[in-house]
């Protein structure tokens, strides 16, 4: 999809991949609404984007908060126009160090599902109907290889990401006739705070920077019409063409 002038909503945009995606999409002309819980960091990211000539609006809010869903979607549309691109990037690992499932509190699993699955679903429900009426729009779920591989100790997170991948596929099956596209993208390992929290012993210098991964994902978004609707892609094997 062409991004210039389009309204985009990016969650988890205060750091890591979310911040890098917001910056990259703004660089190619999209109008960005950024969502994250931390108001200070989020404002800084938005200010940096504006300083380089992009359009960015900071909406400090929690995607897991039921009462915030209409505030997020409504404020974003008021500020950047109809949302044509929705990126579900915000997510939580649950308690770290990561635990075996039998040691995971039910409440913690509940919370991970709320942030990684139900919150995004609520936003999609609010935003994707207007996309279907317009006959265009893209909802992108940031996934993980933990959605596919059964890594011990990644239970809560892995379950939520596997469910999110399937949510994306079913939404694609339902809304393909109306022209709304859904993608799941596994960004691969990156040098982020989340990676450091999950794997504190990893060599951060060996990991790709979020900005490099964001460029690949932005390329996927520009080519979205050529990708099968509902597909799950890996950023690492994506050949940047556009």
């Amino acid at each position: 999809m062409e991004l210039k002038g389009k309204g985009a909503l990016v969650t988890g945009a205060s750091k890591g991949l979310g911040a890098a995606l917001a910056a990259e999409l703004a660089r190619v002309g999209a109008r960005i609404a950024l969502v994250a819980r931390g108001a200070g960091e989020l404002s800084r990211v938005a200010a940096e984007i504006r300083a380089t000539g992009g359009e960015a609006h900071a909406l400090p809010a929690n995607v897991a908060d039921k009462r915030a869903a209409h505030a997020i979607a409504g404020s974003a549309a008021a500020l950047v126009g109809p949302i044509e691109l929705l990126i579900h990037n915000a997510s939580t690992l649950g308690p770290v160090p990561l635990r075996l499932l039998l040691d995971t509190d039910c409440e913690d699993l509940d919370h991970v599902l709320e942030v990684n699955l139900v919150g995004p679903f609520r936003l999609t429900k609010i935003v994707a109907g207007a996309m279907a009426l317009r006959g265009s729009g893209l909802v992108l779920h940031v996934s993980s290889d933990a959605a596919v591989a059964a890594y011990p100790r990644w239970g809560a997170y892995g379950v939520s990401k596997a469910a999110q991948d399937h949510l994306s596929r079913i939404l694609a099956a339902e809304l393909s006739p109306a022209g709304v596209r859904f993608l799941s993208v596994d960004p691969g390992e990156m040098d982020t705070e989340m990676h450091a929290a999950a794997m504190p012993d990893a060599d951060r210098a060996a990991l790709p920077a979020p900005a490099a991964v964001a460029r690949r994902i932005a390329s996927m978004i520009r080519q979205a019409e050529r990708i099968e609707n509902g597909a799950r892609l890996e950023a690492g094997s994506w050949k940047e063409a556009g």
Binding site: L59, H70, G129, P177
Partner: protein
Amino acid sequence: MIPARWPREDAASERLLVVDPRAETFRDARIGELPFLLRPDDLLVLNDAATLPASLAGRGPRGEPIEARLLGELASGTFRAVLLGPGDWRQRTEDRAAPARVEAGDRLAFAGLSATVERVSRISLRLIELRFDRSGADFWLALYRAGRPVQYAYTSRPIELWQVQVAYASRPWAVEMPSAGRPLRWDLLLALRARGTRFARVTHAAGLSSTGDAALDAALPLPERFEIPPGTVEAVASAHRAGGRVIAVGTSVARALEGAAQGGALIEGTGETDLVIGPGYRPRVVDGLLTGTHEPSASHFALLHAFAPAALLARASEHAERAGYLTHEFGDSWLVLPRSTA
């Protein structure tokens, strides 16, 4: 007529009175039958405005309780608004006490948000321009925190913001829900699409249905902002070329489309309209109408006279009353079919 006091679970089974001006007949149906009542090549035009949390409870300059209802954004952070006095959602707007009198320069305080009265209208002292002390993202989040949807005295309990959104809502422009589109869930919209019905959209800042102030109510509708996207102009032309009919979902869509065609042809772009459609008005764009069930005394009912003969509407309305059709925002619907054979 009896209002629907609460949104119903199964929108598809809500009642639909099909009024056929050509045959001068009407008959009972259900919303779920729409795909069989419209024809392939018909164009359904919907208002994709999301509903604002337009009702703000707060305090006037001397601490008096007031409610401000936002009517529409004039500039970033500046809104036209109507003030109401003390009271709550259980009271009809016309029974609410008058608000404390305000003047330009007065400050109004809401939860986490305050504003300055910029101007008081000559139409009514309750109609004001309000400049909020925040703008941009700060303003919008604060508005969603402080505001509630405009309430209706007939509902069995207060309604929440999600209950006044259509299933395809985009930018928050509407003060009250564009309610004709409320029963259109995606199951039904996709069924219509699969049969060949096309969709187009307008965004229309549907305003307040009543303010409780006789002078102001007499001046309704105030000019309302609309946007006609280029794709809608093309879709209307192509529907008419193919012999399809343009069905407006709601009076706000009819007003936007007709308002944007006052020069003769429908044109794209944004504008404001205070066009009143009623008896004697000859529609230029809209052929038929899906709308709520309205009392014969309502202005929304007057609009129907541009689409069907008065005698037929009167008979249909008597039938709806007898048959127990429910009115208002969560009520049953009417489909007024096109007059022409085209």
